[in-house]
Structures are given as C-alpha cells and as structure tokens.
C-alpha cells in the first residue's frame, strides 16, 4: 500500500504521486510517514523532503508551511514554496544565499520584519542548496 502524496503551494500543485514513504522536516524534528500513519497536523520547517518510490529516493526542497496526514494514507504538504531537486539552479541558489547572508550581516539597519524575512529567505535557499546537492550525489 502506498501513500497518496501531494505538495501544494499557493500557486500550484508541485507534486502529486503515490510514494512508499516520505521524510519531512517539521518544527519538532524530522518525521517519516509510512502508510497508515496516524492523522496529524504539523508545521513544516524549510528543508529537504525525501520520498521513496519504487525503492528510489527523490528529494524536494520546501520552505515553511504545514504537513497534514489524513486517514487512508493521504499526505498533504501545504508549502509556501517547493521545488524538485532537478529544478534547483544551484548557482543561483548559492548567489541568493550569499545575498541573504550579506544582508543579515548588516542587520543593524533592518527592522524586525525585514530581519525575519531575510532569515526566512536564507533558510529557504539553504534548503534548496541542500536538496540539489543530495540529488547530485545520489
């Protein structure tokens, strides 16, 4: 039995497939969802989602959002943004990270909201880089 797995962003459905297991970064730590997992709602942390399908691993980068496991082995991730490892442009992601890091270093000039936004974008870019590297090594 497989899990019905979906990643949805505010713009589109990024991933919609059946997988055998999924490992997801949440605020309280990483969780691995197998078929017949108990219903749960949790908050997603920017990071790498690893799914297993037919014995093969795939990686996706996600930013913040929610994870919902439903009855009947249904797993839905509502993410602010999500990307498949294949689609991540490593060079651009690294540039974006450097930019965010630089802004963070000059943080005295940032307001609280700006600071939070920069940290969020830094986390997101780090997750993208990690995902892309994982994919390249596998």
């Amino acid at each position: 039995m497989d899990i019905k797995f979906k990643i949805i962003t505010q713009e589109r459905v990024v991933y919609d497939d059946e997988v055998s297991q999924a490992t997801i970064p949440t605020q309280d730590g990483e969780i691995t969802v197998l078929p017949r997992h108990a219903p749960i709602v949790s908050i997603l942390k920017p990071g790498v989602v690893t799914i297993k399908k037919n014995g093969k691993s795939h990686h996706l980068s996600v930013s913040s959002g929610f994870v919902e496991v439903r009855h009947g082995s249904e797993l839905v991730i509502l993410a602010d943004s999500a990307e498949r490892a294949e689609d991540v442009d490593l060079e651009r992601a690294q540039q974006a990270r450097d930019r965010a890091q630089k802004m963070l270093d000059e943080k005295e000039s940032l307001s609280a909201t700006e600071y939070a936004m920069v940290v969020a974008s830094l986390e997101k870019e780090l997750a993208r880089i990690k995902t892309s590297k994982k994919w390249k090594n596998s």
Binding site: T9, Q10, P39, I43, E68
Partner: protein, 305 residues
C-alpha cells in the same frame, strides 16, 4: 474625383493598420487571460486545503485569534481592484459602479461615525476612489502580469497588519469575478475577520465555478496537532488571507484581459466593416471618375467632329 479616390485609399490603409494592432492586442489579451485563469485554478487547491484545516481546528472548539476577532464595524477597509490600462471595455466602469454603491451606502449611515478607507490596485481604481473623495491608504500600480504570491506580500502584509493593530475592524474586497470569457461580474467579498463560510463560497466560485471538491469534515477526535492548535492556526490564517487576495487579483486580471480581448475583437470586426464600406465607396468613386472621363472624351470628340 482622382483626389477623392486617393483619399479613400489612404483611409482604407489606415483602418487596415489599426485592425492589425487591435488584432494583435486581442491575441495578447487572450493568452494572458488563459494564464491568469490557470493560475487562479492552480492556487485553489491550496485555499481549499487551508480552509479545511481551519474548519477542522475551529470545530467543537472555541478558538481565539486576532484574525478571527469580530468587532463593531466602525472602520472599514476596502480593497478595490481595477486595471492600470484602458481599452478594456466596461471593466473599470463595472468596478466603479459597485464601488460607488458601497460608498453611497456608507455615506447614508455615516452618522454612526464610521470611517471608510480604501487600498487600490490599478491606476483606474485610484482615480475613481479619489474622485469620490474617499481616503486612499495605499495604491498598488505595479503588479506584473504574471503575478506570484511573493509579489503580493507587501499588500497582504499591510492588510493583515492593519487589521491586527485594529486600525480597521473589517476588510472587504471589491474585485471582478471571472465566470467565462464572455461573462463576469463584480463581487464584494469579506476578507477579515476570517469567516469559514465566506471563504468556502469564495473558493467554490474561483476560476469560473468549475467542479470543486467538497470540504471534507473528518473525524477530528483522532487528529493530533504539533506543536499545538494555536501554533498551526497562527500559520494557517495569514496564509489563507493571502491566498484569497491572490486569487481575487488573478480573477480580476483574468476579467481585465477577457474584457480587453472582447473589446479588441469588436474593434477588429468594426474595422473589417469599415474597410468593406470604404472599398465600396472607393469603387463607386473610381467608376464615377471613369464615366466622367469617357463622357468628357466623347463630348470633346463630338465637338471636334
């Protein structure tokens, strides 16, 4: 007569050129409309799921959150969406009509010292809000055609912030709702405080009211929330508000482009008609000129002979 045929010919040429332009604008508008509708439908699933989460959490439980809080409607904020550019038929006029009605209703009960402010999207909206003398808090005029959720964080963040700070007691949106390429209407949708019923009716209409999933209410006793319900709610509510604003924008864009497409289509058809009229006039003038010339030659030949 030779001069008038020349003038008519020039006129036909210019009408044909105009038609080329309107035809091109029609095609561009058609492709932009399709994109906007696709995007609106693409973001619908997120809105549905987030709403389901909210309904799940709010069922059998009294929840408190600043974005859910109902207050006396003293200060209302209106988000009015119209276009930046003209040449789109009655699109802006329709929005304006609904907007004016709301302002009228508001002014009729103004003795209760309630205040109305607006945030406008599009130069046209800004213009007609100012014409009514309503306070324009902010005006957004530079949204790209292919709009992403990141593009609207300034707008949605401002709305959510101001509501939380109690600058406004309720927020409503006036936007164009896309039914099909040929028909649309202007809707007024309550945005804040968040109300699950209003959201549900909103979502079901998105993108021309195609088939929609029912919001499923599962047995929640078995649901676990990590770290807790409040934390999840803190994340869900702003996102849900954002996605609604996003969808309203996309729908309005779709309507704008479809109105433009139809306006341009009509213009192209009128140009065709004009060209055929002018061609007829041109042929008549040409024939008259020839007849006249022959008559002149015949008369001259007669005079000599």
């Amino acid at each position: 007569m030779a001069l008038s045929t020349k003038a008519i010919k020039a006129k036909i040429g210019s009408v044909k050129n105009t038609k080329k332009i309107t035809k091109a604008m029609e095609m561009v508008a058609a492709s932009k409309m399709k994109k906007a509708v696709d995007n609106a439908l693409g973001s619908r699933e997120y809105a549905e799921r987030a709403l389901e989460l909210l309904v799940h959490i709010s069922k059998d439980r009294i929840i408190k959150h600043p974005l859910l809080e109902r207050r006396d409607e003293r200060k209302t904020l209106l988000l009015v969406i119209a276009s930046n550019k003209g040449l789109c038929g009655g699109y802006n006029a329709h929005v304006r009509k609904v907007f004016n009605k709301i302002v009228d209703v508001h002014e009729n009960r103004s003795e209760t010292n309630s205040a109305l402010s607006v945030i406008t999207v599009g130069k046209y909206a800004e213009r007609f809000a100012k014409a009514r003398g309503v306070e324009v808090v902010a005006s957004f005029v530079d949204f790209p055609d292919n709009i992403f959720i990141e593009d609207i964080t300034a707008l949605s963040g401002m709305i959510i912030n101001e509501f939380e700070k109690e600058t406004y007691d309720s927020v409503r949106m006036v936007f164009s709702h896309f039914i099909s390429a040929m028909s649309s209407n202007v809707n007024t949708q309550p945005l804040l405080p968040v109300s699950p019923d209003a959201i549900e009716s909103f979502i079901s209409q998105v993108g021309g009211a195609k088939e929609s999933r029912d919001v499923v209410l599962e047995n929640l006793a078995q649901y676990r929330f990590e770290p807790n319900e409040e934390e999840v709610l803190n994340h869900v509510l702003p996102r849900l508000t954002e996605v609604q604003i996003y969808q309203a924008l996309l729908e309005s864009f779709a309507v704008e482009h479809s109105s433009r497409m139809i306006a341009m289509k009509n213009a192209s058809e009128s140009a065709d008609e004009m060209v055929s009229d002018l061609t007829l006039t041109f042929n008549k003038a040409r024939q008259a000129a020839i007849t006249q010339e022959i008559t002149e030659i015949a008369t001259a030949a007669g005079a000599i002979g």
